[in-house]
Amino acid sequence: MNAWVIATNTFGEALRKRVLNVFLLVAIILIILSNAFAFFTTPQQGNRVELTVVRSMGLGVIVLAGLVMSIFLGMDLIPTDIEHRTIYTILSKPVRRYHYVAGKFLGAALTLALNLGLMGIFFVGVVTYKAKTFQPELLVGVLMIYLQFVLLGAVAVFFSIFLTKNINVALTFFVFVVGTLSEYWKSVANLAKEQPVIQFLARMVHLIVPNFNNFNMANPLIHPERMQEIPNFAGYVAKTAAYGILYTALLLILASIVFERKEV
């Protein structure tokens, strides 16, 4: 119950952050403008290529905005409460520390949902207008992007318990890059059979760092003809969503354990 009280308050607080509002506005403008960028294609290339431009640009903008927003929210919420000493009046009330962490994270996740949701609506709207047909897979794609950045937000929240904001931003971004290259580390582990140290390290990175690449459905979404590359689309989405939710939960449990002994 207290986690929800903190979450709704955090959501209200985050909605008033000008940086996020500006980001949302710019992102929506770029998504709408993607239609105009499509005119740069030659008439011979036709509507199919125009649609590819609109889809790539829209998804790219949502990913970029999600990346910035999730890191910004995750690294900022708890340290700001500590810096401003607002946390004193919260933790001196009957609020369990793990409720506080969960509430702050949930507030960030709600904020991200609203922002990415709005971008997603505009994106799907622009593509539907251009293609004259509604493609529900695009909504699933936006949902995957959301889950990906909820997970990255959890990474930032976890680091925010014990790292400074600047180091947190750098490290969370690094984790995102390393996690996006997860399949690469797997290949390295498979290929480096004669170098056990490299093989071990690559395997560990592949296993421990969240695999953000799983959430990346840009290719089949931009080129719908490649949708067959994912044989069981529903199963893949469910499995990836479950992976994201479980990993996020694990990170929040770890964050709560560390925060339980943190002096504020």
Partner: protein, 307 residues
């Protein structure tokens, strides 16, 4: 009488980053605070007052020792329904109005919606804050302090921790808050008051403890501590050298336009100061025994502990 607060050897040390040495913030503090009183917690800056309060509230953890709040070990979540805290210079979520802020804190206590609205209305009236939607970012320091006091009363606590509740307030707000603290005692609540405003503490507190460099150096009832006399010696403004010498000997010195007021509780020291005044041919205006003030007790205790 039941105890609101009890500590046994409560200690907090900090490791200095990059060094082997540790800093002792609170040193084996044994404290007993009875229920229903206003307890003054005094000490110079860095004495360990806020550290002690933060340990009692479970915001930081003791390195050694233990403590109980209303009979429960510190950190026990159930006791937090009965306590409240007003930190020094509080900072709240700026986007909220005073009523929304109180609603947020009331929800943390699980107070039902109907009761919340009634309580918020009463508290805003009590502390004299507007009931409109003006966000806290537009509040003055005094108004923020009033909001802080209102949040500390939202759960009708039995024990209140106030850390410098009157710092930075104008005289009217200052008096209002002092009166409110007295009213809380009339309602049977315990107030743990950490303050530098010695005149306030003297006026409202039943009992005081003086902390210096993390150690408890004096504790007692205000009336008991003030028993006995101190001597006020008034001289015509002496030259700088004599004034400096007299100031060093006195417990406290108050320069006025044409006079210098010197205080000490030891007759021998006063006698020595009179000798100096005579030798330097400075005019002695009066020597008067008077009741000791908390200020002189505080200075005597802290300076005595430092020498």
């Amino acid at each position: 009488m039941a105890l609101a607060i009890r500590t046994n050897g409560l200690t907090k040390t900090y490791k200095v980053f990059g060094q082997k040495r540790t800093v002792v913030a609170v040193d084996h503090l044994d404290l007993e605070v009875e229920e229903g009183i206003i307890f003054g917690f005094l000490g110079p800056n860095g004495a360990g007052k806020t550290t002690t309060i933060k340990m009692l509230l479970g915001l930081i953890f003791p390195t050694e020792g233990e403590g109980w709040i209303l009979g429960k070990p510190i950190g026990d979540i159930s006791v937090k329904y009965q306590i409240s805290y007003l930190p020094e210079s509080p900072y709240f979520y700026e986007h909220l109005s005073a009523a929304e802020l109180l609603d947020f804190y009331a929800r943390l206590f699980g107070i039902p919606a109907g009761e919340r609205a009634k309580k918020i209305d009463q508290l805003l009236t009590l502390v004299g804050l507007p009931k409109d939607n003006k966000p806290l970012r537009e509040f003055s320091k005094g108004m923020l302090q009033r909001a802080g006091i209102a949040q500390a009363l939202i759960n009708d606590p039995k024990l209140l921790f106030f850390d410098e509740p009157t710092s930075g307030l104008d005289p009217i707000a200052h008096i209002d808050i002092r009166d409110l603290i007295l009213r809380l005692r009339e309602e049977g609540k315990t107030v743990f008051l950490s303050s530098h405003q010695l005149s306030d503490v003297e006026m409202v507190c039943d009992r005081v403890a003086i902390l210096n460099r993390g150690k408890l150096v004096k504790i007692g009832n205000v009336e008991e501590l003030r028993a006995g006399t101190e001597i006020e010696m008034v001289v015509e403004s002496p030259d700088d050298g004599t004034a400096e010498e007299l100031r060093r000997l006195a417990l406290r010195a108050v320069p006025q336009e044409t006079r210098l007021l010197l205080y000490h509780s030891d007759e021998n020291v006063i006698g020595h100061m009179i000798d100096i005044v005579r030798q330097r041919k400075v005019r002695l205006i009066s020597v008067t025994p008077q009741r000791r003030s908390l200020e002189s007790i505080f200075l005597e205790t802290v300076r005595g502990d430092q020498t």
